[in-house]
């Protein structure tokens, strides 16, 4: 076992275990800080797929922006926390959630089964690019190539996503305004 796969398994275990803890913990503030750990571990997993720029963007956007926003929203509506603590059932496994548990496990079973049976016959283009050697290598300059791709081949989706982001932010500011001033 090389050190690369060891680190991969460590990051994967960290992500999965803290995600499991996240959905089981009662305290919403602690769950949000566990999301912090999950997002960092996911950024580490992106590094193993040789996507360094995506990993850094994940840390910047999610940990810097989204998580702070979630914590703000939690603090502005934290009367819910008291209700949630009072209605905690004394059972070890809370029974009303078993449908969700069954559905999630069934979905997991279907996905893992299909992935494992799929890995025997991969699609053509993966085998072709493996044969031609056009796989992204650790020595490649990914960020430069991504910048060129954004400004040439993917310039239309890039502009559309910029306009969409502006629309979404204006909409969010409009929705969350006070009612009396228009």
């Amino acid at each position: 076992m090389t050190i690369e796969s060891l680190l991969f398994y460590a990051f994967a275990c960290m992500a999965i275990v803290s995600a499991l803890l996240l959905v089981n913990i009662r305290n919403t503030a602690r769950a949000l800080f566990l999301l912090f750990i999950v997002l960092f571990a996911m950024a580490g997993l992106y590094l193993f797929a040789l996507a360094d720029f995506i990993a850094i963007t994940q840390i910047l956007v999610y940990v810097g922006g989204v998580l702070i926003l979630l914590i703000f929203a939690f603090m502005l509506s934290n009367k819910e926390l008291l209700n949630d603590l009072q209605s905690t059932s004394k059972h070890f496994i809370s029974l009303p959630n078993w449908q969700a548990l069954v559905l999630a496990f069934a979905f997991l079973g279907v996905m893992v089964y299909s992935y494992i049976s799929w890995s025997q016959h991969m699609p053509q283009w993966i085998a072709q690019s493996e044969a031609k050697g056009s796989i992204i290598l650790p020595t490649d300059n990914n960020i430069k190539a991504l910048g060129f791709k954004f400004m040439t081949q993917y310039v239309l989706p890039f502009e559309i996503i910029s306009v969409f982001l502006m629309m979404a932010l204006i909409g969010a500011a409009h929705v969350s305004r006070k009612e009396d001033d228009i």
């Binding site: 991969f8 992106y46 956007v61 056009s134 992204i136 500011a173 969350s176």
Partner: protein, 101 residues
């Protein structure tokens, strides 16, 4: 070299945890967190497949687009949550079942 199946299985686990959070939680912020986990699993799949696409870099480019979309959805979702909380004084989705005031 980590094989593709490893990435897919890890992202399937994260996706199903997010699905469980969406289905079982009684707090709208936790439902939003579950959606974020599902989007992250999808981004991991994008990136894992994008490793085999050096000519177009399609996986990594669309992973960046997915991150932007997730940020936008969180901004709009939290604005809606705060508005709903101002109206109903709760963010439990089972208590929010009236359209009128």
């Amino acid at each position: 070299m980590i094989s593709l199946t490893h990435f897919l299985v890890v992202s399937a686990c994260i996706f199903c945890i997010g699905l469980y959070a969406v289905l079982a939680k009684r707090n709208t912020i936790m439902i939003l967190v579950g959606i974020e986990l599902m989007i992250n699993a999808a981004i991991l799949n994008f990136v894992a497949f994008g490793k085999y696409d050096k000519i177009n870099y399609g996986g990594q480019v669309f992973a960046l687009f997915a991150i932007v979309l997730a940020a936008a959805s969180v901004a709009v979702g939290l604005a809606l949550i705060l508005n709903v909380y101002r109206h109903f004084k709760t963010i439990n989705p089972q208590d929010i079942h009236e359209l009128k005031d």
